[in-house]
Amino acid sequence: MHDFAALEGRGVIAAFLASTQFVVAASAQARALGYREVPAVFVPHPIQDRTDSEVRALADAALAEIIAAVTRSGQGRR
C-alpha cells in the first residue's frame, strides 16, 4: 500500500495484487493512507504452497480484473 501511494503520488498508475487473506489488511492500510478505495485485485488464498501450474492458472483467471484495475474499464467496479 505504501508503494501504491508512493507511485500514484508521482503520477504512475498503480494496482496492487494480493491474496484474499489481505482484503481486510489492505483496506485498513488504504484508509490509513487516506484512500477510501484502492485498485486492488485479490486472488484466492493461499499462494505459497501451490504448484506452478496452479499459480499460472490463478494469473489466467485474474488477468481481466488486473487490466480493469489499471484502465478506465475497471472504474465502475472499484
Binding site: 490509513a32 493512507l33 487516506g34
Partner: protein, 484 residues
C-alpha cells in the same frame, strides 16, 4: 449568563453549584467545606473522584459546564434561583462563604483566605481544543481527514491544494484564529471567483490564507485583494486563460502596511517578508483552489513567471515624491487600500547618470516602451516601480505623479515609421498605411507609477502587464478597512 446555555448543560434550577479541580490546592482545602454544605452540586474539572463526600458530584472533565458558566477561577460557587444565576463567589474567603451559603461556622478550622486557581478552561494546552469546540460550529467547509499514516504536508500536496511550495495545514483551530483577523462573518460571500465562478466566503478565503502562511492580521488585505481581483474590470479569468505569462500583483497603501509589517524598502519586490510573500500567495491560492484556476488547465500561460506564486508589496509612501498610489486612484488620504494589477516579473531599469527629470523620464520611457514588444503600441498595460534614488530627482524638480505621467505620455508617442511591420528588419509591428500621426504606446491610464525600494541604487523596475482595458485587464483598487 444566558439561560439557553444553562439549559444545555443541565444545571439545577435552584441551589448551589460549585466548580473545582483536584489539581488546585484551594479546592482541596475546601473539600471538607463542600462536604459540609447541606445541598450542593459539584462539577469537577479533572479528577472525577474529587472531592470526596459529595452526593451530587458530576464529571466535568469535558469542561462543558465550566464553559457554559464561564468559570475562570476554581473554586467557583454559583447560586441559582428559578433557573437564573443570582450570585457567584470565587476562591476561599471564610466569611464570604458563610454569608453566601448561609451556613454558619463553615470551615472554622481553615485559614481565613486562600485565592483560587485558574480554571482548566483557561489552560493554554486546552485553548486549541476549546476554540474549536466553542466556535468550530461556525465553520461550514467540508472537513477532510488526513489519515494517520499520511504526512500532513505531503497529504496537502497529494490533494492538489499547493502551488508547488509547502502549505500550512488548515486545521479548524488555525482557520478560527485566522478569522479573528476580520469582524466579517465566516459565511459572508467575498466574491465570485473565476474561472469556475465559485462564491468564495470569508471562511474559504481564510482557509487559503492559512495554507499560504498568512497571519490573521493580514486577512483584511487578502479579502480586499480577492474582492478586487474578482471584478469584471480586473478580469482574472482572462488573465489566467491567456497564454501570456502575467499574473495578479498587489500594491498595498495606507496605515495597514506598517501595522502588519509589510516591506516597501530594500528588496520590496523580492522575498523575505512574510506579509508581502503570503498575501499575494493567498490570492493565488484562492484562484487555484476556490476558482479552479490551475496551471496547464485553465491557466494557459506559455511561460508564466515566479511571481505567480504571489506578488505583493507595499508602496513607500513616506519617501515618495508622489501622493500614495491609492489616493491617485480615488481612495481618501490616510485610508488603507490594495490595488491589483496584471504583472509579469519586474525588470530592472538602470540610470545612474541622469540628474534632470527630463533625462530620467526619457530613460524610463524607453524601458516602458519595451513592454510586450518595442514595436507594438496600444495593447498592453504596464507598471513602473520608481526607486527612491530616482524618485528624489522628481521630488527635487517638483514633479508630481500626474506631471510624470504627462511627460511620459509625450515620450511614449511612437513614430509610425519605426514600428511598421518590417521596419528595423523585424516582421512584427503595426500594419503599414493609415495616418502618419504618432501612436501612443499605452492606452489612456494604461500604466501606473509606484514608489518603493531601498535607499541606495538608481535602479527602478518596469513591470509588464497584459492586454489593457475592456477585453483585457484594468487595475482595480479596493479599500481594506471594510474587511477588518
Amino acid at each position: 449568563m444566558s439561560t439557553e446555555r444553562n439549559a444545555a448543560v443541565d444545571l439545577p434550577a435552584d441551589g448551589l453549584v460549585a466548580v473545582v479541580k483536584a489539581d488546585c490546592p484551594t479546592c482541596r482545602l475546601v473539600e471538607p467545606v463542600l462536604a459540609a454544605l447541606p445541598q450542593v452540586t459539584v462539577f469537577t474539572q479533572d479528577d472525577p473522584g474529587f472531592p470526596a463526600g459529595i452526593r451530587d458530584r458530576r464529571d466535568d472533565t469535558a469542561l462543558d459546564t465550566s464553559l457554559a458558566l464561564e468559570v475562570e477561577t476554581v473554586p467557583t460557587l454559583v447560586r441559582f434561583a428559578g433557573g437564573r444565576e443570582t450570585g457567584r463567589i470565587v476562591g476561599w474567603l471564610r466569611e464570604e462563604w458563610q454569608e453566601f451559603t448561609g451556613v454558619g461556622g463553615l470551615g472554622a478550622d481553615l485559614p481565613e483566605y486562600r485565592p483560587g486557581c485558574g480554571s482548566r478552561t483557561l489552560d493554554p494546552d486546552m485553548a486549541e481544543e476549546l476554540l474549536v469546540r466553542t466556535r468550530g460550529g461556525s465553520l461550514r467547509s467540508r472537513r477532510l481527514e488526513i489519515a494517520a499514516l499520511e504526512d500532513e504536508v505531503e497529504a496537502l500536496y497529494d490533494r492538489g491544494f499547493s502551488d508547488g511550495l509547502p502549505v500550512v495545514p488548515p486545521t479548524p483551530a488555525r482557520v478560527l484564529r485566522m478569522l479573528d483577523g476580520t469582524s466579517r462573518r465566516p459565511d459572508e460571500v467575498v466574491a465570485v471567483v473565476p474561472p469556475n465562478l465559485v462564491e468564495a466566503t470569508v471562511e474559504k478565503v481564510a482557509i487559503n490564507a492559512v495554507l499560504a502562511g498568512c497571519r490573521p492580521e493580514y486577512l483584511p488585505v487578502v479579502l480586499a485583494a480577492v474582492e478586487a481581483a474578482c471584478t469584471d474590470e480586473f478580469n482574472a479569468h482572462g488573465l489566467l486563460a491567456t497564454t501570456w505569462g502575467a499574473g495578479p500583483a498587489l500594491c498595498v497603501n495606507g496605515p495597514i502596511r506598517a501595522e502588519i509589517g509589510m516591506n516597501w524598502a530594500g528588496n520590496a519586490l523580492g522575498q523575505g517578508n512574510r506579509a508581502n510573500s503570503t498575501i499575494g500567495r493567498a490570492l493565488q491560492l484562492v484562484i487555484r483552489n476556490v476558482g479552479g484556476g490551475r496551471p496547464q488547465e485553465v491557466d494557459r500561460a506559455a511561460l508564466g513567471h515566479p511571481g505567480k506564486l504571489g506578488f505583493c508589496f507595499a508602496e513607500d509612501e513616506e519617501g515618495s515624491p508622489f501622493e500614495p498610489l491609492a489616493q491617485s486612484r480615488g481612495v481618501p488620504a490616510g485610508r488603507s487600500a490594495v490595488t491589483v494589477f496584471a504583472a509579469e516579473g519586474p525588470r530592472g531599469l538602470a540610470d545612474q547618470i541622469s540628474r534632470t527629470p527630463e533625462s530620467l523620464a526619457r530613460s524610463l520611457a524607453q524601458g516602458l516602451r519595451s513592454v510586450c514588444h518595442w514595436k507594438l503600441p496600444g495593447g498592453f498595460d504596464a507598471s513602473l516601480v520608481l526607486c527612491p534614488e530616482h524618485g528624489r530627482t522628481f521630488r527635487e524638480a517638483g514633479w508630481d505623479r500626474a506631471r510624470l505621467h504627462r511627460e511620459l505620455d509625450e515620450l511614449l508617442l511612437l513614430d509610425r515609421a519605426e514600428i511598421t511591420r518590417g521596419a528595423g528588419g523585424i516582421a512584427e509591428g503595426v500594419p503599414a498605411g493609415g495616418s502618419a500621426r504618432p501612436i501612443p504606446k499605452f492606452r489612456p491610464g494604461g500604466y501606473m507609477i509606484m514608489h518603493a525600494g531601498g535607499g541606495a541604487g538608481m535602479f527602478s523596475a518596469i513591470v509588464g502587464g497584459w492586454a489593457g482595458g475592456p477585453g483585457g485587464s484594468a487595475p482595480v483598487t479596493r479599500e481594506v478597512d471594510p474587511w477588518r
